[in-house]
Symmetry: C2
Amino acid sequence: MDKIVRINMSDLTTSTEPVPAEWVGLGGRAMTSTIVAKEVPPTCHALGASNKLVFSPGLLTGTAAANSGRLSAGAKSPLTGGIKESNAGGTAARMLAKLGIRALIVEGIPKADKWYSVHIAKDAVTIKEESELLGKGNYSIVNQVQTRYGKPVAVVSVGPAGEMKMLSANISVADPESHIRSLGRGGLGAVMGSKKIKFISIDETGVPPVMPKDAAKFKEASRIFAKTLLDHPVSGQGLPTYGTDVLVNILNEAGGLPTRNFTSGQYAAHDKISGETMHDTIVKRGGVPTHACHPGCQIQCSQIYNDKDGKYLTSGFEYETIWGLGADCCIEDLDDIAEADHIMDDIGVDSIETAVMFGVAMEAGVLPFGDGKGVVRMLRDEIGKGTALGRVLGGGAGQLGRIYGMTRVPVVKNQGIPAYDPRAVKGIGVTYAMGTMGADHTSGYAVATNILSVGGHVDPLSKTGQIELARNLQIATAAIDSTGMCLFIAFPALDIPECLSSLIDMINAQFGINLKGDDVTALGKSVLKIEHQFNLDAGLTKEDDRLPEFFSKESLPPHNVIWDFTPAELDTFWNF
Amino acid sequence: MDKIVRINMSDLTTSTEPVPAEWVGLGGRAMTSTIVAKEVPPTCHALGASNKLVFSPGLLTGTAAANSGRLSAGAKSPLTGGIKESNAGGTAARMLAKLGIRALIVEGIPKADKWYSVHIAKDAVTIKEESELLGKGNYSIVNQVQTRYGKPVAVVSVGPAGEMKMLSANISVADPESHIRSLGRGGLGAVMGSKKIKFISIDETGVPPVMPKDAAKFKEASRIFAKTLLDHPVSGQGLPTYGTDVLVNILNEAGGLPTRNFTSGQYAAHDKISGETMHDTIVKRGGVPTHACHPGCQIQCSQIYNDKDGKYLTSGFEYETIWGLGADCCIEDLDDIAEADHIMDDIGVDSIETAVMFGVAMEAGVLPFGDGKGVVRMLRDEIGKGTALGRVLGGGAGQLGRIYGMTRVPVVKNQGIPAYDPRAVKGIGVTYAMGTMGADHTSGYAVATNILSVGGHVDPLSKTGQIELARNLQIATAAIDSTGMCLFIAFPALDIPECLSSLIDMINAQFGINLKGDDVTALGKSVLKIEHQFNLDAGLTKEDDRLPEFFSKESLPPHNVIWDFTPAELDTFWNF
């Protein structure tokens, strides 16, 4: 029986209720955004008792559908001041789904200055005071919690950054090998920290598999769907072989790889940090170049990256992180970046926000461009330990910019702009500006059509067609984020008709319903509008749907392009 | 001949132009807000080249009118994101007015990483590169500049905080004794720092006095006006004797003295920091209890406060500073507060913003409540030197709150709430919420009518009548701020009819015009509306016209009152 579980941290009680009628059929982002919009006062303090932290597995999570294991978390964001959903792989979503928990809603704030864990099993939800784990990193937490239970329970945790309510703090979730995946751009880790929950553990022991209403139909649709993932060159070849870091050379070639705090679109040392170099390094050192971040993933773009001695260094080593510390901070040594990635996972900070912040910090003179050892030291000894400098660095790019009086600060809605320069990839620029989440490439990945010619081609340097592209992708993404599917299914979905039809067939077979393509589009539109309204009610305005001034004033080499959308043009995004 | 002087820091040129027709008759805040609204793009980066820093003397500045020597500065605020005007005494306004300069507009940003001074004399405006003065405090700047010119030129400067573009940085202006007055809440010092101007010096040598069109009428009106200042008990007795610090005991008695980061309305040690104690201390140590901050001031609420050895320690030692470090930070030693005041003047930070910030920092555990020596050390060695901790502390209360994840952060539009708790003095709460400047008691001093029974009496604990009170006071204040008059003329103006009529008579006699009382009200309304529209265009919304959540949730002893205005009630403020 599907249910909603509530954790009330103010009085340390838990409760279970049936899924209300209006939430039936929602999952992932559709569920978290609907609950946040309904239950969180938009103007509340994001770190106060009125905010709620909502976890939800996707509609298809827990089934045999490939790539369906994403966990969504939602809340009011302390970074953007608006609504936030972020999702990641790992094992937690699947276990929640198998337990029938469609949403886990964490409410309130403890009265005492104590820290807690929440353990979720088949027949009980238990809040327990924790103290010995305070200050521990995420790797240590996963290890100790799984040791405590004697089995690979799912672990959702915050590191020291979340405990300290830093605005770059994210939420970590253990993957099948007990390594760390991350959700929570927008400071969701600070929200979890404000509720004084160090970790949530989930034990699926004793629950049966999730069965579809129409098993035969589901199996057939699932087979077709999985084949489309294998057949598309991006999800079937590029990502499995090189991981997301395959994009370094592609974006550099396109002149859209933001370099040295967004002053150029090309990085001279791109070869040193490219996916090709990473792949060869991993193979040479006995790492794992192709690896699944959650059970049932077929694309397997994750990897295990070892150090020079062949010892585990990091995993889930993504393009955006490598771009950010590499090109944007001019750090040429991939091992330094990998070590930084490991520390960021361990202390629990968003690697995009943190890398963008370091780019601004380097321009501000806090440390030199290219200082990889300095970044590693500051992550470990300053941010991780919450020194004054660590507090300065831990609040993200926008905060760093305000603290040092910088004018070149690449953020939208106070969230750092990721790895694609909006001047040279204008479609993603529209997504950054208009997205409900702040600057977020995953909310409408126009890079696909601008650069990779997936789903057709729209000239990245021209304004023509970009708003429609970003709008359609954001609508589709809001729907995909609700299924529990990894966003990378979008590549085949944009090019191979059977991908989307088989996805809808799986949903229909699972629930015994009869969704059409239009229903999925309607869901995506509905989610976006709910999120947009929350933001407006929270006090955000059209002026928050803009890129920073410097993108319109400084031209980006090598194409020497500026950001040239007018406010009126951007505002047409919402005409749907 | 009246004129506008422009300083273009991008190409290091200056120019002079006649006052355009639409700006004739404007002065002070009316002038700065009109120019900022017309010439500064509301969405520009406040520390970027598109912002402009505007100085303007008031309409009556430079004349023989009592208390008319205020200097206004205006710009887009990097702290609030909206428009900002701030004014102070000192000698600069009078000299600008005598030179016929109705507005000094600083534009652009230098291309080179060099620092400059601007010298204004009868026949020339000169930009000069400065380097030896970089890093120097305001006291040192005034001393060295006046030594350079061999006479008491007016000096407008920024300290190290302004150089570092800290959001709490203000602008300093020398008083007749070469001590420091301050303008620039809202980070105007950071704006001046962004334009790389260390100081502006003004030499009035060779210019004749400002003469009225109708000298006899002016003289008679001026006499009547001056007499009303002497006749009113607040401006004629309370302020001259005890300074603004007379308010400590009054607000404590009223239960509206925010204590220990706004957790109580009474401070047990209020006697140790009261105006009465300060007065006795000053007299005992051979200081000056009654002192004018600008030439022609009759109220003379400033003072010179000596240390235990009878040596100069600080001046312009105001209630809000003493409240902030005293009651709000629980520092009982007035000498510690005086030393802190001196350092804040010297490094150039807003003492209200900084004191409110320390209250939040103490709640966050950065230093203990009551640690006066710690505050002095942090001002001098951290903020003043721009260490990482100094950067954390130098950005004001809102920034400190975000950095430490605090929920009890008393700011409106990111500007610290001054010395009157809005729960126990509800009229000033309306001013904090609705004011165009962020939380600013001087923009509509409802304390007068709520607590001092000036201009009638409105019960401070009741909502009744407060919105109308705050609206009328804000309109009147916007007009007064345009005359160059000290706001303290409002006390007689509210109670003695001849005060306002003689003020209008002086303006009419000075310019040979025929203003009525309604014209003055219309000017005030017009200024407020211009400012409000700028804020809306900059992206501020109704949600920025609100007090922080905790004022509505935590009741304030001893009256155990909460802030209970609804959003709809507050929004009626703008119905005029």
